[in-house]
């Protein structure tokens, strides 16, 4: 089918949809939203299953509950040990009257340790960066919260890495495991985090351990995938060599494959660190204290300065952990070993130990060495608050006009349109799209997923989600693609835009909400802006990447043909970049959906809100069904766009 016919049929569908939306006021009620009779009481089933699991399930003589408790205790012990070391120290008595016998590691000691680790891993430069970021935590009064967060991250990351590695190896070794894991991983990454907070909450109770486990579940999937890919990517000659050297299967894995795959595996470790830190705020909803709790609290109190400071502190921690991890992995071995007494052979360890002893001992006399004094702290809170106030005072009318205009002419009509679509029509449309893009299998999948949405009884929420997400994605693409084109057009622009995007991406998603809510109050409009900001990144990045990836000979050929710069862009580079841009679109949708669940905090009425309510009520069934509904939309979008991208690529390669 030609492009023109494609376009025409799309237009025809849009016209039909509009007509239907118009006419829907007169539709019989069962046609607009799925009738009650079609709803399956899935929430009830899941809650009942969960109740059975927690109350009466047994594995042999041990009840399931004891099992989870035991597991929790296993995780809790090292976590508590770290907290003693970093946060609390050894104390006597409880609560307010507790007296510290041995204090925790001093801020000075931890900072020096970070510098020493950086120096050990690469060079003094890295050490100084790590030290400076730690110093930021102290100077801006984030120290204690940061150490709480660090304790849980320091447990969650190794657990996530080890678990991911083990699963990845199992999947590499046995095809059956791989087949079983693939859909599970898809779900783990698309079900919004809130949704599985609920069962974790029920199984492990409110508290840091539940938060820790939720973090591990969230952060592990990329490690599994990366491990599988990395093991597969070990060159076949190296595998042959391992066999010829007479390695046993265990030796082959330990001595050959894992070390060879290490650089790739580190990408997974980096992902685990990043996702764990992403999860810090969400995890604080089920009892993780620390920086995440501070951000959440600031958000609730609309304390923009506090939120931004704590948010940046999370980012600082992320950067330190990430850089140190990368450098440690890339550290060249085989350096000359120093000789002499112990402290000469290990100067850094000796230095850190000395600082620890000195600050702990002297800390009893000079408390500033132990705890960073309040008087020396800086804060930017008032600056941010004043800035917001100034904007609000001076530009209130303009901001309000913008908000009103967009709401009235864009958001409300689109929302009405989505809510007025009859459900059989949506079902048919999704199936048809699946059939056209990917054949019968995709059509069946689309039908099943949309049918699932209809059967949840959450149709209205699902349509609201579609409207917010769809609008957010369209806006993000409208802004992001031109930015991507700009970034690919010159080195300087690429660098500048790249820097901004990197920062956007490391900020925890919650942080976006704070200024937006300050300026535009709660509601759909704030949610939309936060979604656009958050989902912008892949749109820009993939567009730029796709444009840069166009073969230079093709561009040269166009130049020789006498194309202008605009023509080269429109007729050569953009068409060739289409598959990449589609991948970016895919990522944008996934990010928008994940952000929507977070924007539930500012009072949207979509599936995210449903999940959030379920979390506050600890209603497992409701939370999981709503979470699965979000996952269904995400998977549907992912598969449809994936198929479209593949089609585009096939056409390009077929033509080439």
């Amino acid at each position: 089918m030609t492009g023109a016919m494609r376009g025409l049929s799309a237009l025809a569908f849009l016209a039909l949809a509009l007509l239907l939306a118009r006419a829907s006021a007169d539709l019989p009620p069962g046609l607009l939203w799925p009738p009650e009779a079609l709803h399956l009481p899935m929430a009830g089933w899941i809650s009942a299953a969960m109740a059975w699991l927690t109350d009466s399930a047994h594995l042999g003589p041990v009840s399931f509950k004891d099992l989870t408790r035991g597991f929790a205790a296993l995780v809790e012990a090292p976590y508590q040990a770290l907290r003693v070391l970093l946060v609390e120290g050894i104390t006597e008595g409880r609560g307010r009257r507790a007296t510290v016998i041995v204090p925790p590691l001093s801020w000075l000691a931890v900072t020096v340790a970070a510098v020493a680790l950086g120096h050990y891993a690469r060079n003094l430069g890295l050490g100084l960066i790590a030290g400076a970021l730690m110093l930021y935590l102290a100077v801006f009064g984030q120290w204690e919260s940061a150490m709480v967060t660090l304790s849980s991250i320091a447990i969650a990351v190794p657990l996530g890495v080890a678990g991911g590695l083990a699963l990845g190896i199992a999947a590499w070794r046995w095809r059956g495991v791989e087949r079983a894991l693939a859909p599970l991983l898809d779900l783990m990454q698309t079900v919004p985090t809130f949704a599985y907070l609920v069962p974790v909450l029920v199984l492990f109770g409110f508290g840091p351990v539940a938060a820790l486990l939720a973090t591990v579940i969230y952060a592990m999937p990329p490690m599994v995938r990366v491990t599988l890919l990395a093991l597969r990517a070990v060159p076949s000659e190296i595998m042959d060599f391992a066999a010829m050297a007479g390695c046993t299967p265990g030796q082959r894995l330990r001595k050959v494959m894992l070390p060879v795959a290490l650089p790739d595996l580190m990408v997974g470790v980096n992902q685990v660190i990043m996702l764990s830190l992403n999860m810090v705020i969400i995890a604080s909803m089920i009892g993780a204290g620390g920086l995440g709790f501070d951000v959440l609290n600031a958000l609730r109190r609309l304390d923009i300065g506090g939120g931004i400071e704590a948010g940046i502190a999370i980012t600082a921690l992320a950067v330190v952990l990430d850089r140190l991890g990368q450098a440690l992995a890339a550290r060249p071995g085989g350096q000359l070993r120093a000789v002499g007494p112990w402290w000469r052979r290990h100067p850094r360890t000796a230095l850190v130990l000395a600082v620890i002893l000195a600050t702990t001992a002297l800390g009893y006399l000079i408390p500033a060495l132990q705890i960073y004094p309040k008087d020396w702290q800086l804060t930017t809170r008032t600056f941010w608050a004043d800035l917001m106030k100034a904007i609000n005072v001076n530009y209130f009318d303009q901001l309000e006009a913008l908000r009103a205009w967009l709401l009235e002419y864009l958001m409300i009509p689109v929302k009405r349109f989505f809510l007025a679509l009859p459900w059989p029509f949506v079902l048919g449309l999704a199936t048809l799209a699946g059939w056209r893009l990917g054949g019968l299998r995709l059509a069946a999948l689309a039908l099943a997923l949309t049918g699932f949405l209809a059967a949840t009884g959450l149709w209205e929420q699902a349509m609201t989600t579609l409207y917010l997400c769809g609008l957010g994605v369209v806006l993000a693409m409208l802004i992001g693609v031109p930015l991507g084109v700009l970034a690919a057009s010159s080195e300087a622009a690429g660098k500048a835009i790249g820097a901004v995007i990197d920062t956007l991406q490391t900020l925890p998603s919650f942080v976006y909400l704070i200024p937006v809510v300050m300026l535009f109050r709660v509601g759909d409009f704030s949610a939309l802006i936060a979604v656009v900001l958050y989902a912008l990144v892949p749109a820009v990045r993939y567009t730029a990447h796709g444009l840069r990836g166009v073969a230079p000979e093709l561009v040269e050929a166009a130049v020789v043909c006498g194309c202008t710069r605009g023509q080269i862009l429109r007729k050569v580079r953009l068409p060739l970049a289409v598959p990449m841009v589609l991948l970016g679109l895919n990522q944008t949708i996934l990010l928008a959906l994940s952000m929507l669940v977070i924007t539930a905090l500012v009072g949207t009425r979509d599936l995210g809100q449903e999940v959030y309510i379920a979390l506050t009520k600890a209603d497992i069934g409701r939370g999981i069904v709503a979470g699965l509904a979000v996952a269904a939309i995400a998977i549907l979008a992912d598969r449809l766009i994936g198929a479209a991208a593949q089609g585009a690529r096939a056409r390009l390669e077929g033509a080439a």
Partner: protein
Amino acid sequence: MTRPVKLACRAVWKLYGPHPARLLQSGAPTLDAIRASGHVGAVRDVSLEVGEGEIFVIMGLSGSGKSTLVRCLSRLIEPTAGEILYDGEDLLKASPARMIEIRRHRMGMVFQHFALLPHLTVLENVGFPLEVQGVARPAREARAREVIALVGLQGREGHYPRQLSGGQQQRVGIARSLAVEPDLWFLDEPFSALDPLIRREMQEEFLRIQRQLKKTIVFITHDFDEAIRLADRIAIMKDGALVQVATPEDLVLAPADDYVRAFTAHVARAKVVTLGRIAAPLSGPAPDLALPAEMRVDEAAERIVTENRPVAVTRDGQILGEVTPQAVIAVLIGRQP
């Protein structure tokens, strides 16, 4: 010149595709039948024998099945059918533990892209096969240093593979494959990834090492000149099957078909033809200057032509006949002998 057989394979097949074993049940399929049924005949009905201390070269275009064959011989790939006998033991019947044992002590392999472990130094890479066997560090480092010296890489023990040039990396690969003192040595296009000048140098080096160690060698290449320079015998492969197995000289002088002839057409005859081949019966008393029958004409040409009289040719101390300057010149200018 008969040597005891070190490695032999009989009717080895390797088919890729949906039902490789079923295809072989009703006798040997033709190439067309294999292709028609959606299979790839990577190795088809190959039988060969490699003598002890021999350099046996397998030559063929890319995709002709050389790598698959050599991997069947070392059982890195399980052949679809056939027998592989190493010192009379059928490798295909060996248990996994037995295979590990054989590979640890009696086989070595060199790879086209070196297959060095990037996280280990030269010393550690070379010592790796010993480490796997559980040899203690001092002993394996001592042995590793020996083979590193053998390939001329002294002083680079602490380097990582990425710090070495391609030629140096392959020297490490060679040293590593020799660390366990294997009898049988597989080399899969070891010099194909190197620049032509380096390749020449490595070929010399390889011959030098072989003169010293006298291994049984299966050497893969797609370069006919390389094959001629190194081989005692050459096997030419096409579409997974052997076309001809012969000495370089026989291959050039009596190609089995047009396919082989196409390879040999451009080869200078003098580089492969030996004195024994052009020797004529003595025409008078034996000349006092004698040369061995295995010597190739291009090596002997200058001396015989400057002597300007017949030269005796000897094999194992026996006088075989004589070679005249005219006969040498005939070979040099490419006339058929």
